[in-house]
Amino acid sequence: MNELQKQTFTFISRIAPYGSNRPQLCLDTALAAAVFEQQVNYVFMEDGVYQLLKNQDAEAIHTKTIGKTLETLDLYGIGNTYVCKESLESRGLSLGDLVIKPKLTNGDELKTVLNSSDTVINL
């Protein structure tokens, strides 16, 4: 490859924020991809929607507050964020509870996002 080719990466984060390091790893990988000027989509579904809740403060458990990092996604060029409508609703949450305003998407719309991606990373 003579020059870095631009690809579309979609990251799916399905895990609650502080029970394991997977949500942080997913985020770090996405930020790395964005730094290399790749097209990045970021999808929150299942318990992953809990990462988006306002008022997180992980200092008490000596961890980085994921919600704060998520607020900077746009700054890093990750403007395409999606949240699974069903996952949000089944947890009694709405867009107003979240630190950012991802696109509210249903399963069919998410399938379209996946189909338009070169690589999907599912953490």
Partner: protein, 96 residues
């Protein structure tokens, strides 16, 4: 565009229902590692949708003593075919 989804945890994980949210017509779903226990539960496997192709990895089924002679909804494949499928599908999404 078709995708191969691999599922590698037992049914207790609910991974299949999470995965099905994003499975499209023509996709394949392959059970590997502890995911093969999905194949062993005929109550689950009888309901497998027909617009998706279902696979189970022979090596993992054998290791766990699971026999699927009477289950027609799942194609049994080995590592060799698994590798070929990774090439044939547009992409692989791993669920774990």
């Amino acid at each position: 565009m078709s995708t191969l989804h691999t599922i590698s945890k037992s049914p207790k994980s609910q991974l299949l229902s999470e995965c099905l949210t994003l499975v499209d017509k023509g996709d394949g779903i392959l059970f590997i590692e502890d995911g093969v226990y999905y194949c062993a539960n005929s109550k689950v496997s009888d309901d497998f949708e027909s617009d998706v192709t279902w696979y189970g990895l022979k090596e993992d089924l054998d290791a766990r003593g699971l026999k699927l002679d009477d289950i027609k909804t799942i194609k049994i494949i080995n590592y060799q075919i698994f590798v070929e499928m990774c090439e044939e599908f547009d992409k692989v999404i791993s669920w774990f």
